[in-house]
């Protein structure tokens, strides 16, 4: 007998009834997992709840990648530089032990105070950052280390030099590198998952998303500026394109929602790290046993299914 959450889920899915759901083939298997997740949620997020996610995802005290690294990874050693031009501090890469195994970490990094924000360019990477990430991914693959990424960026940096250095191509190639990896990969959206700059490091076997993180094709302000010609309409825009975790889960874009402490991750970073670690370890244990070739095929098949189509 279906639970209330499952009924709610079925109702939501029924909205798609007239369309061919690309990922439909996997739906029955996924239903159980979705159900588990939905039990923790209180109904369809309202416009206010979505906006609260936007605010929490950007909260100035929210834990950043390195806050989790120091709580989750042992013996962490940071890898620097793209071996060509620069070491982009908006994106950190390194190796550490997670629950006994060595993993490679790639994550955006924001700054806490003005000085560090400038150094980290507000978490907005240049192409050099993505090239450093590609280098770290290659190292992971060479040594069989799983890859864990942490996504937390308003977006890739939109600057003259960034364009000249090939921002679009770098983001495309970072995704391609992740599509090629033989090792297990887990991506975690831990704050702002802003557009191409986010998905560049989020093409993974399992994509996790914290309860109050956002993941979106455009920032609310950017969307509002284009559609309403008024960045102040950001709240309305967010309600329209729904960057919150429940909607991302429902659309099959992420594989699981990671709970946060009451009030948001910043209220208790230790607990937040503990929950995130548990989710990553669980996700890894699911995929580590797979044959590498099969794992890669499934990863690509997952993205192959993304999207919703109608027919003329």
């Amino acid at each position: 007998m279906p639970s209330e959450a499952e009924i709610r889920l079925r109702q939501r899915l029924s909205k798609l009834a007239g369309m061919k759901l690309l990922r439909g083939t996997k739906l029955s298997g996924e239903l159980e997992r979705l159900q588990d997740q939905l039990e923790h949620l209180q109904g369809e997020p309202s416009a206010e709840e979505i906006w609260r996610s936007v605010e929490l995802a950007r909260h100035q005290d929210r834990p950043y990648t390195l806050d989790y690294v120091e709580r989750i990874l042992d013996d962490f050693f940071e890898l620097h530089g793209d071996r060509a031009r620069a070491d982009d501090r908006a994106l950190v890469t390194g190796i550490g032990k997670l629950d006994g195994r060595s993993v490679v970490l790639v994550g955006h990094q924001k700054g806490r105070d003005l000085k560090e924000r400038t150094k980290r360019n507000f978490g907005m990477a240049y192409p050099e950052g993505y090239r450093k990430a590609i280098r770290a991914m290659a190292l992971a693959d060479r040594h069989g280390f799983p890859l864990v990424t942490m996504v937390d960026t308003p977006g890739a940096y939109p600057g003259v030099a960034a364009e000249q250095h090939g921002q679009g191509g770098a983001i495309a190639r970072s995704q391609a590198a992740m599509a090629r990896l033989s090792v297990p990969t887990v991506a975690c959206v831990i704050g702002e998952g802003g557009s191409g700059g986010a998905v560049a490091i989020a093409v993974a076997d399992r994509v996790l998303m914290q309860e109050n993180a956002i993941y979106s094709v455009i920032s609310p302000e950017g969307c509002a500026a284009i559609l309403w010609r008024d960045a102040g309409e950001a709240q309305k825009a967010a309600a329209a394109f729904k960057p919150d975790a429940p909607h991302c889960l429902e659309l099959g874009v992420i594989d699981a929602i990671v709970p946060e402490p009451e009030g948001g991750a910043h209220e208790d970073p230790d607990s937040a790290a503990h929950m995130l670690e548990a989710a990553i370890v669980e996700a890894l244990s699911e995929i580590e046993s797979l044959d590498p070739e099969e794992r890669r095929t499934e990863r690509r098949a997952k993205y192959r299914r993304m999207g919703v189509l109608a027919f003329a």
Binding site: K15, M19, L22, M124, P154, G155, A156, Y157, P158, G159, V160, A162, Q164, H165, G166, Q167, G168, G169, I171, A172, R173, Q175, A176, A179, G194, S195, G196, V199, A200, A202, V203, Y215, S216, V217, I218, S219, E221, G222, I226, L227, W228, R229, A231, A240, F241, K242, P243, L251, V253, R299, R300, Y303, R304, M306, G307, V308, L309, A310, F311, A312
Partner: protein
């Protein structure tokens, strides 16, 4: 503010904006030199200004006519349409915009795909059309591109992609963003099957399309003067308060910085693709 990166310049995306800026001039008036042409005049010159060489936009069907051998093009997946999964509503519902775009352009979405031959070399073609909602990429563009990759691999012929896009289609939300990894994964599969992708960038190719399949061609070509940037000029100017170089994001600048293999004037595009098809083609 840095909140609009990943998006295209508003002016580029005017097709997608609710209150499109009124066209400053007639579409057949050359922005390069001010000359004005009749439709049939431009048709004869492949929509290139005979005075100054300015490359006017070309729709998907016209482009296919310019490139494919006569009668060779067979369209595929023409019945695919976008779905409004988010119930997206700004000033008007997304569904209404889609219907309007279909009526205006006669296209089902911003891409036309199928099999063809160029200079007698068989290939697959995937051609975008900026007139359909600013060439924005949602589920249909992603799906049709991926199917074109798959068929190119099956048939062991190269895929020729012609991009013209303002970026990901925000009305499809996060699923539009997912078309980036979706198309990227398809190219990886194509490459593992030893298939080739020739990517041609036309004005404009920005945002999510540049940050996915358009940049991943085995060979990347661009038309003269085409804007190809991840972030649009207006967003960059607003964010950085820098004065932009005159050739910001243009094909010529991208060539200088090593991002494309060649700038190909429109009348050389067909022979260039023919040469590439001979070099990469099935008879290898």
């Amino acid at each position: 503010m840095a909140s609009e990166q990943g998006r295209v310049d508003v002016s580029v995306e005017s097709k997608q904006a609710p209150d499109a800026v009124p066209a400053k001039s007639h579409p057949n008036t050359c922005p390069g030199c001010g000359s004005h042409y009749r439709d049939d005049e431009l048709e004869r010159t492949l929509r290139v200004c005979p005075q100054c060489g300015h490359h006017f936009p070309v729709g998907a069907r016209d482009r296919i006519e310019q490139l494919a051998d006569p009668e060779s093009f067979v369209e595929e997946d023409e019945d695919l349409r976008s779905a409004d999964v988010l119930g997206f509503f700004d000033l008007r519902p997304y569904t209404e915009r889609l219907a309007e775009a279909e009526i205006e352009t006669g296209l089902g979405d911003a891409i036309v795909a199928g099999s063809a031959s160029i200079e007698n070399e068989p290939c697959r073609l995937a051609v975008m059309d900026f007139a359909f909602m600013g060439g924005s990429m949602g589920s249909v563009v992603g799906e049709k591109f991926v199917r074109a990759c798959e068929r190119a691999a099956e048939n062991r012929v190269p895929l020729v992609s012609i991009a013209a896009s303002g970026g990901a289609r925000m009305q499809e939300g996060i699923l539009a963003l997912m078309q980036l990894p979706k198309t990227v994964c398809a190219i990886e599969d194509l490459h593992e099957a030893k298939g080739a992708l020739f990517s041609v960038l036309t004005h404009p190719t920005t945002g999510g399309v540049l940050a996915s399949f358009a940049s991943l061609g085995d060979v990347v070509l661009a038309e003269p003067g085409a804007l190809m940037s991840f972030a649009g000029p207006r967003v960059v100017a607003q964010t950085t308060r820098e004065k932009l170089p005159d050739d910001f994001g243009l094909a010529e600048s991208n060539y200088r910085f090593g991002h494309i293999d060649a700038i190909v004037p429109r009348d050389e595009l067909r022979p260039t693709l023919g040469r590439l098809l001979r070099l990469f083609g099935a008879e290898q």
